[in-house]
């Protein structure tokens, strides 16, 4: 068990190394002078020199990379080219709304897509099943900003149930917070609901052919217990996998949703950073999200190993 954990942990290191290398090379491989690329055409020589200094562009490329990695290991992710503040501090200030949005979307996903997927598999070919299949195609096809605007048009502009845009942190009270985060959370979860309910359905269909499901039914257990306690538990691994790999898409959803609903989170920070060409900031956000992705998938992998001994001995 311990050796599996260790092996899996060690595998994450080269992955993160390549992430860091790609992010590093992204700027260095940009055609022309990277400082010029960041500063734009109207930059003064002094500005260019300041950027070179900030990013260490005057040193050989290998030592730039080494210096960059070791300063990150010390927790220094660099300073913003615009505000001169540590980028980590800027990220810390903006992460709250993003987390709130992501958690809201996950809650919607779980309470909507698990029952939908289970029902679809239970009545295979029935109405719910057709609905789930249709939803999964539509969910992959309709961009999140379109869903966001439909929700705004219906629930905020016409029905006036929710404010059109904006965000209130939890510290200003749960009511106002929930009032503003519900619509964006729903918009963001739409894609995830499509993905997870489809996977739940497929995984449940596989599991329900198994003997132990027949046994559970044969010994007279109620259908609900068979479905949710026996079948869904065993169907969980592919569902969890898809939640993990879906994280990357969740990130792009966050960026867009925050723009649509004007939420001051990480997504807005990244877009503003790009428009201002604040490279250290973009770099840090990409690294941290990629790190989170690797970590989430690591945790999911390890949780399989905990729940299923067969995986450990592969």
């Amino acid at each position: 068990m311990a050796s599996y954990f260790l092996r899996r942990l060690l595998m994450a290191i080269p992955v993160m190394f390549f992430v860091a290398l790609f992010v590093f090379l992204l700027l260095r491989l940009t055609p022309g002078d990277p400082a010029q690329a960041i500063a734009g055409d109207q930059a003064t020589p002094a500005q260019l020199a300041a950027i070179r200094e900030n990013l260490g562009l005057d040193k050989p490329i290998a030592s730039q990379f080494a210096a960059w990695i070791s300063s990150m290991a010390e927790g220094d992710f660099g300073h913003s080219l615009i505000s001169q503040r540590p980028v980590l501090e800027m990220i810390g200030q903006r992460i709250g709304p993003t987390l709130a949005l992501a958690v809201m979307a996950m809650i919607f996903t779980v309470i909507i897509s698990l029952p939908l997927g289970v029902l679809a598999a239970w009545r295979h070919g029935g109405l719910v099943d057709r609905f789930v299949m249709a939803l999964s195609v539509v969910g992959f096809s309709v961009p999140i900003f379109v869903i966001g605007y439909v929700l705004i048009a219906v629930f905020a502009v016409d029905l006036k149930w929710f404010p059109v845009q904006g965000y209130k942190p939890l510290t200003e009270g749960f009511g106002p917070f929930l009032h503003r985060i519900l619509l964006p959370g729903l918009a963001l979860s739409f894609f995830y609901i499509a993905l997870v309910s489809r996977m739940t359905r497929a995984s449940m269909l596989e599991v329900m052919r198994e003997d132990y499901v027949r046994t559970a039914r044969a010994k007279g257990l109620g259908e609900r217990i068979v479905l949710f306690r026996h079948a869904l538990r065993n169907a969980a691994i592919p569902i969890l996998t898809v939640v993990g790999t879906g994280f990357a898409m969740m990130v792009s959803g966050v960026v867009v949703t925050e723009t649509v609903f004007n939420i001051p989170g990480l997504g807005r920070l990244v877009v503003d950073g790009v428009l201002a060409r604040d490279y250290p900031l973009i770099q840090a956000i990409i690294l941290l999200t990629a790190g989170t992705y690797v970590l989430i998938n690591l945790v999911i992998d390890l949780s399989y190993a905990l729940s299923d001994p067969r995986i450990r001995y592969q």
Partner: protein, 290 residues
């Protein structure tokens, strides 16, 4: 599983494609795509106005006989802009799918065949996959700037690992097949073996994957343009029409909704076509409900 008639004549994908009548959603999807392609190709004929023609006197007009879908905040004809927008989307989708396959296919073949480079190459691909595609694309567009080519490149890079993984998995599965063993025992050179025996097994899944990549590239381009980091606003794309329209969303929803509807229908149709191709080309899906 397969019916007897399938096993008798089910060899060639093309024959299988033509035998069973397609599902009505597939027919509808193909029709929608034909309309979108026609919009892109015949845009100058279909449009009523130059898509970039400003008209300050005609700002934010509702739909009428002259302006079929109304006008935007610069007095440009929305209908003409939506028609021209098809060009960018189709070009980006084609560029991304083709580029990712051209780069990913050889890498996948190499990784699947030569175990030595497999480990390193796949960790590289894992690393690339760990970076959320839209962030990578945003960063590339911001640094390189430039127009359509940059956007295609920026969306293509994060798509490459999908191709590599798919091709590699196919090659590894095919290596276990008897016909590959036979070819090796006969002394076939690796290059010929890869070209004649392994490459063909990857084509059907690549067509399906390519279709999905096409759809998701269109989606990403629209998202980039919507965020203001796509191709410049001088070329109308469904994404940047929406980005400009959202500032006047409260005034006129349709500035956002028309491009949104066409965009969503287009992506939906490509995805449906992909599903249909998958069901037809994959022998395992024959006779099975999706």
């Amino acid at each position: 599983m397969s019916t007897p008639s399938n096993t008798v004549s089910g060899g060639l994908p093309r024959r299988r494609l033509l035998r069973n009548p397609p599902h009505w959603t597939t027919v509808l999807a193909v029709l929608v795509l034909l309309v979108v392609v026609a919009m892109a190709v015949f845009a100058p004929l279909l449009a009523n106005f130059e898509p970039t023609k400003l008209n300050a006197a005609m700002r934010l007009k509702p739909a009428s006989n002259i302006y079929w879908l109304g006008t935007d905040s610069f007095g440009r004809d929305l209908y003409s802009r939506v028609v021209y927008g098809a060009r960018v989307s189709l070009l980006v989708g084609a560029g991304v799918a083709t580029g990712a396959i051209l780069i990913g296919l050889p890498l996948g073949l190499l990784a699947g065949w030569y175990r030595g480079i497999d480990g390193v190459l796949m960790r590289m691909m894992d690393g690339l996959m760990a970076i959320p595609g839209i962030l990578l694309a945003i960063a590339i567009v911001a640094l390189v700037r430039g127009g359509l080519i940059t956007v295609i490149f920026a969306i293509m890079i994060p798509a490459i690992p999908q191709v590599v993984r798919l091709v590699r998995a196919r090659v590894i599965a095919a290596r276990e097949e008897t016909y590959v063993d036979a070819a090796m025992l006969l002394g076939t050179r690796p290059a010929k073996l890869i070209w004649k025996h392994l490459l063909p097994t990857t084509i059907a899944p690549l067509i399906v994957q390519g279709t999905y990549m096409y759809a998701s590239a269109i989606l990403t381009e629209a998202a980039l343009s919507f965020l203001g980091v796509g191709i410049g606003t001088e070329i109308p794309s469904w994404g940047n029409i929406m980005a400009e329209g959202r500032l006047y969303f409260a005034l006129n929803h349709w500035l956002v909704f028309w491009p949104a509807i066409v965009l969503s229908l287009c992506i939906l149709s490509i995805n449906l076509l992909g599903d249909a191709l998958r069901d037809r080309l994959d022998p395992k899906m024959q006779g099975r409900s999706p």
